[in-house]
């Protein structure tokens, strides 16, 4: 899009051969985009309006029936609600704690590399493998967490992942643990870009307390970083799947059923690819809406330092 800024004459004078060469050079990427991204997406959109089932010889065009079914599907409604609760818990917590950790590390004098590594570790570890570790930590009878709780006098510690009261909470805690480090690193990068002089200037102007300096300098200047972190965390947490698939399979009684897991189960366990594609479309719409809202609503209020 940047070529719009170029003088008109320059583009029109460019030889045809050069344009062709440019086209040829973008062709591999273009084909990859078409074959790997655009066509599958279009296929999913088409499937969403059919009753296609894996292995069935024929499919029928059923219009909006899949979406109509979704409205009356208890499982889908629960999955949507659970996803909203999950995102609503994980996003603010992991951003708040990530920012807190970044500020503490930035302000600290010793062991900065160590703490950075410790908080970043979950990001580089494999979720599925870590889920197994969480399974053990949160084990109701032989897990260390409940052993600790019993030590301090809790007689009936919660059953975490296998009780419908606590399962979503437990998954959200794992989600926070997973994305905290990522957010922290992004905030650290944002913090290091803030010029030191501004703090000195603020102090001269009467911002005595650390909180004032945070409110007047750090927070506004972190604006672009925060916007990015909020968007990326929202999208990452809407996508929650691995921990659910490994730890709870949506149970008990759909208490941890989330959008992507429902999509997977409808498509690959129940083999109803048409319905699954319809759920995918809803998911796609949610993600696009999130991105659009973020940029629209927040772009104007951000100070680009």
């Amino acid at each position: 899009m940047s070529d719009a800024a170029l003088p008109r004459a320059a583009t029109s004078r460019a030889p045809v051969g050069e344009a062709l060469a440019g086209l040829m050079l973008t062709l591999p990427a273009g084909i990859a985009y078409l074959v790997l991204l655009l066509l599958p997406t279009l296929a999913a959109v088409t499937l969403a309006f059919t009753d296609y089932e894996l292995g069935m010889p024929a499919l029928n065009w059923i219009g909006l029936d899949n979406f109509r079914e979704m409205l009356s599907d208890r499982g889908f409604a629960i999955a949507l609600r659970n996803t909203v609760i999950y995102v609503g818990t994980v996003t603010p917590l992991s951003i708040g704690l990530g920012l807190g950790a970044a500020l503490l590390i930035e302000a600290g004098t010793r062991g900065r590399a160590f703490f950075r590594a410790v908080f970043f570790l979950p990001v580089v570890s494999l979720t599925v493998a870590m889920a197994a570790a969480w399974q053990y930590l949160l084990h109701p009878t032989i897990g260390p967490l409940n052993a600790l709780l019993r030590q301090v006098g809790v007689t009936d510690p919660p059953f975490w992942l296998s009780s419908s009261d606590t399962v979503l909470l437990s998954l959200a805690a794992i989600g926070v643990w997973e994305s905290l480090g990522y957010n922290m690193v992004l905030f650290l990068a944002g913090l290091s870009a803030i010029p030191r002089e501004l703090y000195a200037a603020a102090e001269v102007d009467g911002a005595r307390s650390a909180f004032d300096r945070f409110r007047l300098v750090t927070w506004p200047l972190l604006g672009p970083t925060t916007l990015f972190v909020v968007t990326i965390t929202l999208i990452r947490s809407v996508r929650v799947f691995d921990t659910v698939a490994v730890l709870t399979q949506g149970g008990p009684n759909k208490a941890s059923e989330v959008l992507l897991y429902t999509m997977y189960r409808e498509g690959f366990t129940y083999l109803r690819l048409g319905y699954s594609a319809a759920i995918t479309l809803v998911f796609l719409a949610i993600v696009l809406a999130l991105v659009w809202l973020q940029t629209k609503a927040m772009d104007r209020k951000i100070h680009y330092g």
């Binding site: 292995g55 010889p57 084990h139 009878t141 992942l161 296998s162 419908s164 149970g251 008990p252 189960r265």
Partner: protein, 426 residues
């Protein structure tokens, strides 16, 4: 998980490319698919080695899927792209999906060619295990049934006899024993019944009360009566009176292996895994599963059956030979020794020359074989919601286990939900 299937698909494509050359060498080459290599690999390898000696003209290539579910997906995908294997071993309750989609072939004519199948060990009962969609859609390869596992040391500590023969025969006694074990404290739990996962263990309770999933004509639910209520009430009592903790399958296995769970009720298919994970921590024993109705009570059969999918006549013959060998007295003995499953050929079951010595040396494997008479097919629901129905049952059992609703309330609601998922008929 995706990687394995993809690799399998690639391997399949590669072997398809190599086919024309091998055909020149006057050899039949077949592709055989099975799921759960961690459970079955040793058994298939042993059978393939013996088969290679008997039929040197047939080359067998294996492709695998990590579990039954992905195995079903793989073969359905390949059916859509015309790359089916020649023979595929699928979980019993998935066979109906293939039968109703026209992928599995009817084996009756091929079985009848060499005379009465029963004379070769394929008795009507055993054939019924893989009779889905209205025809003989497969032949059973491995069968399992639910059994009782228990921790001998925990039973001794509460003064209960440790001998399998003296283990409780009724659920009343089991529940009372569970409460006593739980009273030991220190995080020790009494019992766990493997209700999550699928409908299999619910059908274990239901069938053992003499009930059935659907009516004979498959038009309406059959579990909404007294048998279904007895099953759900029993589940409730396990929690309320027996103190059964609300664990998922993995947590329960871990608790049992750590010596913190007295009794575990689940499939014999896990036996090898259980023996490995218990190790030398404590002495484990296995025995029959208590049944609600000792006279008419039945138990569901888990496991896998081979279904013929080859379209080419020569390959179909070769694949059928392998299927027959893998389920012959010799083949099924190799299967039983290398897994925890029950043999599925009547000759191997009756004639001690095949497995007599093995069961003498490995008494833990005997529990499942002692209740073979009770085994009936794992019920697979008709129509496109076949697999979905099973989740409805698990979700409703969760309501009972968590004490959210009484069995009297859950049963009619569960029946209504299942009814909605049955195929509509005019």
């Amino acid at each position: 998980m995706i990687r394995t299937t993809r690799r399998a698909a690639l391997a399949f494509g590669a072997s398809a490319l190599a086919l024309p050359r091998l055909a020149l060498a006057q050899q039949a080459e077949i592709t055989v698919h099975y799921a759960q290599p961690q459970v079955y690999k040793d058994s298939y390898d042993a059978i393939a080695a013996a088969f290679a000696q008997r039929e040197p003209g047939i080359r067998v290539n294996f492709i695998t899927s990590p579990n039954y579910e992905e195995g079903t997906q793989l073969v359905l995908r390949q059916a859509a792209t015309g790359q089916l294997p020649d023979l595929s071993y699928q979980g019993f309750n998935r066979l109906r999906v293939f039968a109703e989609r026209g992928i599995a072939q009817d084996l009756t004519p091929m079985l009848a060619r060499d005379g009465d199948p029963a004379a070769r060990g394929y008795t009507p009962n055993l054939l019924a295990l893989a009779h889905f969609g209205g025809f003989q859609s497969g032949i059973a390869y491995a069968a399992s049934n639910p059994i009782s596992y228990y921790n001998v040391e925990l039973l001794r500590r509460v003064g209960a006899p440790s001998d399998p023969a003296a283990f409780p025969k009724t659920w009343d006694e089991v529940i009372a024993l569970s409460a006593r074990i739980r009273a030991l404290g220190d995080g020790v739990e009494g019992m766990w019944f493997q209700w999550p996962g699928d409908d299999w263990m619910f059908s274990a309770l239901l069938f053992s009360a003499g009930g059935r999933m659907l009516t004979e004509d498959e038009r309406d639910v059959g579990f909404a009566g007294p048998e279904g209520l007895a099953a759900l009430r029993l589940l409730q009592r396990m929690v309320r009176e027996g103190g059964m903790p609300n664990l998922n399958a993995t947590s329960a296995l871990q608790a049992f292996a750590a010596g913190k769970l007295g009794m575990r009720f689940g499939s014999t298919a896990f036996l090898r895994n259980m023996i490995t994970s218990v190790g030398r921590n404590f002495e484990m024993q296995t025995t029959l599963l208590p049944v609600i109705d000792p006279v008419n009570g039945k138990l569901p059969t888990g496991g896998a059956a081979g279904m013929l999918t080859a379209r080419d006549a020569a390959k179909r013959e070769a694949a059928f030979k392998f299927l027959l060998f893998s389920t012959s007295p010799e083949g099924t003995s190799m299967m039983a020794k290398n897994t925890g499953y029950v043999p599925v050929n009547q000759i191997a079951i009756d004639d001690p020359q095949y497995l007599g010595e093995f069961y003498r040396e490995n008494p833990l494997f005997r529990a499942a074989t002692l209740q073979v008479d009770r085994m009936i097919p794992w019920y697979a629901f008709p129509g496109t919601n076949s697999v979905r129905v099973t989740q409805v049952m698990v979700d409703n059992m969760a309501r009972v286990v968590e004490g959210r609703a009484a069995p009297e309330q859950v049963l009619p609601e569960m029946a209504a939900e299942v009814r909605r998922l049955l195929p509509r008929r005019s």
